[in-house]
């Protein structure tokens, strides 16, 4: 059950001794005047690398890889790198080019465009609470850490994203090293290294920043904390969502509204992937290449069209939807699940997704009134956390300081 938030419960750190930072965090809380749902972590100064998780009251402690424990210094370096276009081969894109804070770290496009203009086959996903995701990207059981996932945008060639190659990777490190801010901070973030600015350090810093993006300050969260009321439509939508009439909770039932989460002492579960009947090319069950989901990795028929259920937190901000951005609005998404699969009547993608033989057995179609559907959408919009889109801890550090150096 959801518990009421208290400062004491919110102050959990990865280490064993939360008391050391408790006073400072309490000061920060006082300064916030209780308006935020949880404390800012920036109470720990640059000289104190000990990371203090500041978590929503019902969120478990995120996992940190043994080889990359969280520190404030790494998070700081990672934040700047995340927004730094110097990190791409041609200096045109940063991580933030496809993960905009204002859109809950998505890009608003159907599918992403890489630094060289090449089209990506998949829709950019939100990074809010990404540290809790068991697997990364849309359909890849092999990518289980942010450090591993980052190899894809950095070095991937099919398609090119940031376009880091063997030919330019030393030059990119030189660009970073020339920035005095980095020269100083990398040393602090990666102490004891002969050469602090390396690709290994860059990956670890960005992953640390991404893990720090934990937030649950939606109206729904405030409602659970007893601090806000949901409208009638939203409450009705919530009951439909959580109940057996709309059954959304089967795949979107976790604290981040998906069905594969990982955290400290989480039960060991095989991450789940689902075919929701978006396609059925020629009645064969096939999805269009290269968007055939886990099938692309395994070649097993039962994996055709299987993708991850995304977190629905901030879903109002993350349109368009699905792995390929092929559903434009929340209303259409609800229609898709009501029908139990999408019918594409003609063209190269023709087929009735509802009859896809590899479809998840839970996607059977729903009987919903137009009011039901509107209420479901109203509830989904109550999951919007505007605070995370403006939180200075996650904001572009170049926006106010040195925009020209981007």
């Amino acid at each position: 059950m959801r518990r009421v938030w208290t400062p004491r419960r919110a102050l959990r750190r990865a280490g064993s001794s939360p008391r050391l930072r408790f006073d400072a965090a309490l000061v920060a809380l006082t300064l916030l005047g209780g308006s935020g749902l949880y404390a800012m972590s920036s109470t720990a100064g640059d000289r104190d690398q000990q990371w203090l998780w500041s978590l929503p009251s019902d969120f478990p402690t995120p996992r940190e890889p043994k080889t990359n424990p969280m520190t404030t210094a790494k998070v700081d370096v990672g934040r700047r790198l995340f927004y730094d276009v110097r990190l791409s081969g041609n200096g045109k894109q940063s991580c933030s080019s496809c993960h905009l804070q204002a859109l809950a770290f998505t890009d608003g496009l159907k599918t992403a465009i890489g630094s060289t203009g090449e089209a990506h086959p998949r829709n950019s996903q939100s990074l809010v609470n990404v540290g809790y995701q068991s697997t990364l990207t849309w359909a890849n059981p092999s990518l289980v850490t942010l450090e591993a996932q980052m190899q894809v945008p950095l070095f991937g060639t099919g398609p090119v994203e940031l376009g880091v190659t063997d030919a330019n990777k030393e030059a990119i490190l030189d660009r970073i090293a020339k920035d005095p801010w980095y020269a100083k901070r990398f040393k602090a973030a990666f102490p004891g290294r002969r050469k602090p600015i390396t690709w290994d350090a860059i990956v670890k810093a960005i992953a640390s920043f991404q893990r720090s993006i934990v937030s649950a300050r939606s109206r729904y969260d405030r409602y659970l904390a007893g601090k806000a009321k949901l409208a009638v439509a939203e409450r009705r939508g919530m009951k439909l969502f959580m109940g057996e009439k709309a059954e959304c909770h089967h795949c979107h039932g976790s604290f981040i509204f998906n069905d594969q989460v990982s955290y400290v002492s989480a039960p060991l579960e095989t991450p789940k992937f689902h075919n929701t009947g978006l396609y059925n090319l020629g009645g064969t069950g096939a999805f269009p290449q290269p968007n055939r989901g886990v099938f692309e990795l395994t070649g097993r028929a039962q994996d055709m069209g299987r993708f991850k259920a995304p977190s629905l937190r901030n879903v109002e901000l993350t349109a368009p939807y699905m792995h390929d951005g092929s559903i434009a609005t929340l209303e259409e998404a609800v229609d898709h699940y009501e029908r139990g699969g999408r019918l594409i009547p003609d063209g190269p993608l023709a087929g009735d997704g509802a009859k896809n033989p590899f479809k998840d057995p839970l996607i059977t179609g729903l009987t919903l009134t137009s009011r039901d559907k509107a209420d479901l959408v109203a509830f989904l919009k109550s999951l919007t956390d505007r605070a995370v889109t403006k939180d200075p801890r996650f904001a572009d550090p170049f926006a106010t300081s040195t925009p020209k150096s981007r």
Binding site: N140, V144, F155, G156, V160, T165, D200, P271
Partner: protein, 336 residues
Amino acid sequence: MFRPAITLLPFAVAAAAVPAAATAHPATTNAAPKTAKSAKTQTVKLRFAAVAGNAPVSCEAPIAGLGTTSQTADLKDLRFFVSDVKLLRKDGTGVSVKLKANKDYRVTGAKGSVTLIDLENGKGACAEEGTPGTNASVIGTVPRGTYVGVRWSLGVPFALNHTNTAGAAGPLGLSAMAWSWQFGRKFVKVEFADPAAAGTQPTSGMKMQMAMPGTTPAPTPAAGAWAAPTYFVHVGSTGCTGNPATGNAVSCLAANRSTVKLAKFNPTTQQIAVDVAQLVAGNDLAKSPDMMPGCMSGPADPECGSEFKALGISWSADGKATGKATGSQSVFRAID
């Protein structure tokens, strides 16, 4: 009694060992003084040579007569990993080659060892992803003896494969050999370019199927004669699953590591030919029946059948292949 194919006298062993060490590791030669131990071992240098049929190939000259439709192609890349190398005694037993340390092309350590054979020089058609350096040899030592053949695994050992490219040592840090979609490495990277499309297309040559009818631009047609400007042969493990609790890759459905055996091979006098014509003999380089031209090891990739057969890896069109070595390959052979 048998008549050994190669008999290395102690004198010849020492003579072979010193120049090889001096060439590859000028800095470490002095640190390894001759001892009784070195007299018990001999240096091995397995030399690979890129060919198409009987002709040498390079990045700088088009190769004629490739594939089922006899296409002319530029060689765009030719690199592969070799591990678990064993020289074979006359009785068939294998003796492990202990790799010599080298920071650029070899990884040696407790978790395993591997050599990158790099037969591209970063020139000509290889300029895009290639590197100026090359490495044609596996260099190490074996106990002194008589060897008549060689066997090796084509790929990176599992314990080394599923690691971060960023920060990895030696050839495992190459981004070109990263196999990020399976969090591993490309074991084999051979690529051909359509000479008529040179410089006109984006890197991957990937073509998109439309996500929704009429809403996305149609695929960009290649400027050259082929369906796509580049034909890829990328071999690596597929169907890999990580463990979210530990952050490690725990298993792959298809390992896709070939075991190559040359039963008759003289390591001192012969080289190992890497025949790119044999590799693509069963496919049409100008066609791309699926979205990705060539074989990217996808378990249902229609072009992988003949290439995996040529490399000696089990494959079937239904995606149920185990990716085990078949023991029979046609790409590598001993040449004088």
